[in-house]
Structure formats: structure tokens, C-alpha cells
Amino acid sequence: MQNTRSRLEKRLAQLLTTTPPLAARPAPGQPRIDVVHLSLADQDRLDMCLRE
């Protein structure tokens, strides 16, 4: 496969350059964080439940 970026991949690379780096970057073999981003509807439901 070629290492040529698509237009969208170039835009995404630009986005990453505008994002401040985080403090912790795990080395290979160290635990990686699984992050789940909820939809707005799911987040609303979770908020209502945990507030009660």
C-alpha cells in the first residue's frame, strides 16, 4: 500500500497539529486507554441516571 495521504487524511493531520499534546503517552507495550464517546442522547440518559 502506498504511503500517500488522501485529502481528508491531510486535513486530519492538520487537526492533530492544532491539538496540544497530552502529558502521558504510553510506550509500546504499556496499557492503552479505551475511550468511548457517547452520542448526545446517550450522554443525556447517563447524566439523568447518575444525578438521581
Binding site: M1, S6, L16, T17, T19, C49
Partner: protein, 353 residues
Amino acid sequence: MNNTLTIRSHDELIAYVPHLLGFQRIESSMVCLAIGGGPTARLDLPDSPEAMRLFLDQMSDVYLRRHPTRGVALIAFGEDGRACIEALAALGETLVDSDRGPDVGPMLWVNGEEWFDVLDGTSGTVDPATRVRMAAEFALMGRAMPVATREDLAAAMQGDPTAVAEHLPAAEARVLDMDAAALRAEVGWLGTRLDQFRSDREYLSDVDAARVLAVIHDSGARNVAEMRMTRENAPVYSEFWHDLVRRAPDEVRDTPAAMLALSSYLEGNGAQAWVALDQISEPRPPLADLVATALEQAIDPREWERALQPQAAGSLMQQAALRDRTAPERRTHDQDAHNTHGVDGPESSTPGR
């Protein structure tokens, strides 16, 4: 879609977590749920002082720096009560002590079906009927059921490539013989085929699967596929790319796996995105490195969606140019590694490998 999900108790909250993560057996892990916006995060429990420091830094990055939120619920899963409670206490203290820190609670240790609330001292058992009800409510919402373990996510990406492999040489030879106009037409066919899948959800024939695999390494073809993805339709495209990852011969499996990582990330499913990236051999395609960086940095996929819009992209590029003049050291490893070209470069790379 029928939105009927309700969570009223600790055991309902615990039964809810596997549906968020996509797998049921959660062991030696901390799960953090944001209240009032922000991601849910899962991370292995630390097993040494050094691992504890990294653990606290990684969680702080998400909940204090990247996605400050009003409150968080912490749930430590594992048999080792001391390790679970130490991790809960250390993380809770770190978050609460920060000026920008969220409220913390509940804080639960879960061992199998038993739970213990560290803050109020109550305890209980997750009722099997609660898990059944939760699964039924997610099924009513049209969601996929979680697999048993995280490893099962990887196993589900392994299939039989034999049938597609029979058609691949001819499909690749066909693409290699294409001139620019023919390649544009082929990329147009790919877009049409993706649109068709979105409406009928019928998987590709072996011939069409080989045809997609023969052209998808082309940057113009990938762009057509990537531009169709939104956060809303990403689950459908995850089905499409997941099927191709299962059926692709090894030599053409990396790009569909990278596409699956992207769609999984866009739908918010970080675990599946990591597992898709793990399918890819080195050197990884540029898209895979971009998704890995977004996952590591816990970037909200909504920010990626905004980057796809032309005006937003222009604004981002202006910001990037300004940043380049003022803080060149902030270039990412990814950009350094791949020597990014200008955005206005040719849309399609020459076919062939």
C-alpha cells in the same frame, strides 16, 4: 430507534458498562464515566508505583485536561480488592484535588457479580435479571450486543479469505492497467457501492470485495470512502469494513483495517478501533497512524467531523499555520514521520504498490 434505556441503581450502572465498551468480561480495569459530557474511559489497573503514575497521568489527561467535566463515576473491576481500592482512592484524590477537577461518585469496586460502594460502604449483587433487561433495552435501540472478551473483538476480525483471494489477482491487474479516467470511474463506482451498502446493508460479492480491495490503497479512493463517514453513519460503515477485514487476504488487509479503525473511532468505540489497528502490519498506512494518535490523545470524534467541513478545515489550517510560526516544536510525531504534503496535492495516487 426506541430510546428506553434507564439506569436507576448501582447494579444497573454496572450492567450498563459492557454495552458501552463492547465486551462483557472486564477484569483488572478502571472504568470512568463522565457526567455532564465527556468520554467513558477504560484503563488497566496499575500493578506497580511506576504504572500508578502513568495510570493517573493518563486519566488526568482525559478528565482534567482534554475533557473537563462536572462529575465522574469510578468503577474498578477485579478480584484484587486492595489493588482496586488503592486505584479508586488515588484516582479519586487526583481528580478532586485539582482546581478544575470534577465531583467524584459513586466509587465502586466490582468483583464478579458483587459490588461495594467505597464512599458510603453499601454493597450488593448485580441481579442477572438486570443484565438481561439491560441487554434487551440495548437490543431495542438496535445496538450490537457486546462480545464476551476484548480478545473476542480481535477474533471476530478473522475470517476466511479464500474466496476473495481467487478474484484478487484479476482485480489488481485491472486497476494497474487503468489510466486516470478509468481510475476516476472506478473511484466513482466505489462511492456508489458504499452508498448502496448504507441503504441495503448487503455485503459485497467476492468479485466486488476483490475490486474494492484492489483500489482502496489509492488515496483518491480512500478519500471517497472517508468523506462518506459521519459519526451518525459510522456504525454502518464499520459493518462494511469489518466484513472486508474478515475476507481480505493478508497482503491487502491493512487498508480495510485502517478504515475500520476510523469508522470505529468515529462511532466512539475506542476499544474496537484499537483492535482494528492491532490487525495492521508494519509499516502502518498513514491513516492508521492518524487514528492511533487521535485515540491516544482522546480527541472527540466530533472534532474530526468538524475538520471535514471546508470552512472548518480552512480555519484549522490557519490555526496550524499560526502555530507553525510560534511553536514549531508542537508538530506531532505523525507529521514528522510522514512528511505531510500540502492539502491541494493530487487527489489520487498512481495505482500500484
